[in-house]
Amino acid sequence: MNNFLLLPILIPFFFGMILMFGQKKISYQRITTLLGLFLSILCAAALVMNVHENGPQTVTLGSWPAPFGITMVSDMVSAILVLTTLVLTFFIVWYGFESIGKEREQFFYYPGVLFIITGVNGAFTTGDIFNLFVFFEVLLMASYLLIVLGGEKVQLREPIKYILINVLSSAFFVITVAFLYSVVGTLSMADISLKIAEVNQPGILTVIAVLFLLVFGMKAAIFPLYFWLPSAYSAPPIPVLALFGALLTKVGVYAITRTYTLFFTHDISFTHNLLLVLSILTIIAGSIGALAYFDVKQIIIYNIVIAVGVILFGVAQMNEVALKGAMLYLVHDMIIKAALFMLIGIIIYVTGTTNLRKMGGLMKTYPALGWFYLIAALGLAGVPPLSGFIGKLLIVQGGFEAGNIWSSIFILASSIVVLLSVIRIFIYAFWGQQGVLNEAVQKAKYNRLFVPTMILVVVSIFYGVGTEWFMPFMDDAAKILNDPSIYTDEVMKGGE
């Protein structure tokens, strides 16, 4: 029995609890948060190595036999995502020291962050469909806190819609689980997969597959269900926005990936074609939004929607190459979205506006910021030595292998739109005449904002240049996504 895989969930939870006390002592809050995240990163890194050497780790809570208890499963997919989540949170929290503001820090900001991480890591690690629902609610509840924390007018107006959408999608999740339970009579994900394979996916299971797409698509912001995201994400302050943009939609993407590779693999011509069409439409919708706005926040927010489309296109191909590409691109996108939000947070701080038309000439005053922004922008678009390249290459290669020639070419073409949208920020903000500047910029505060951002951009460069080192891990992840029997064997064995 190996309880080690629970530590990346339990440590943030434990530290979140002890941070509920001592609200007014900011230094205690900050140090404890960083300590907790650092410990969790160590555990998650050790977990990745452990999974790499010994194969997927499972623990069935309470030592019940496998389908009867709640199984926590750490395969390579979830171990990588847990590690990425924790590393990003570490940098975002560090960045938040300077920009989140004292009032928020004294009012449960850090416990909120740690509870959101508990929920995200739990959702990545769980092997039980109802437990997934519970972890979704844990992270959503913490996200409600973070999105309204501060109580500005926009922060009261937009979260109403955000909460309403999530209440709706949670109710749909419960309904879908109820339908699934009445068909297969079990809740453990491995056991559901086996039972579905036995009955060979009759029509009702295709209906349930589409319902799951509806539920998780609402969280992941896929095409007809993304309408809530742009306005809701414009409300919270930058560190919270970076946390949401990097993590929350990706949990939905992970859940779609998991259910569509583990459960619904018998009627691919319908379910996966639907996923493919929706992912293409998602990219189109995101591209239109990313080009339409002159607001730096909105441009990056619509880029989240585009990336969700690209990853799900990789998942829809259902071959090992495309799944590996989707995993690589998922991790890349989490890192680069956090970095970009942090960078535009600094741009907003030094200019005092989010309107691109008012900015200009920052290259003379802030050259380092300009070059790091350019690197992050090129990395997002997937220029070869940087991080977005290999993932998209493999996704497109998998698309060709699956015979979807035109849609794969479309994915390549969408990179141009992504590049255009982020380079437009670069051109407007950094070139040309000197635009507005915030008079009250303190050099020390700017530096303290810039250091974590810089390190995160360097991490993304490292992820791009050193893809070769990450490949063995991604191979494991793609293998387990492509062949659900590895997953089910491991879980069912764990119970004996």
Binding site: V134, Y144, I163, L164, L168, A171, Y181, L187, T354
Partner: protein, 113 residues
């Protein structure tokens, strides 16, 4: 019995969607309440109504009701209770600050170019 319950759930969902699409914030929250009632009833129905004894171990009884859906509902109830409490307080705060509960007046994005 399952047929009747399916109709009851259907009516609850219908009423919930109708209320959620209305303009007043309080009616929307009442709608979410009805929606979660419908979802909970649906879990109970989908677990089927076989068995007659409550799922408590008693001597001489073998005909138990399926205990799993009841545990799921209990979890879902407290979660929706927490979310509803938060939502109500948020609606109250929004009413204090923004002086309206009409969703058409709560349109966003006036500060986005």
């Amino acid at each position: 019995m399952e047929i009747i319950m399916a109709f009851v759930c259907g009516f609850l969902f219908m009423a919930a969607i109708y209320l959620i699409l209305s303009r007043s914030l309080l009616r929307i929250i009442i709608g979410t309440g009805l929606l979660s009632h419908g979802a909970h009833l649906l879990i109970l129905t989908m677990g089927s109504f076989k068995g007659s004894a409550p799922p408590v171990l008693t001597e001489g009884v073998t005909d138990f009701v399926d205990p799993l859906p009841q545990a799921l509902i209990l979890t879902a109830i407290v979660i929706s209770f927490g979310v509803t409490a938060f939502f109500l307080v948020l609606a109250y705060r929004a009413y204090q600050e923004l002086k309206t509960d009409d969703m058409t007046e709560l349109k966003g994005s006036d500060d986005i170019e």
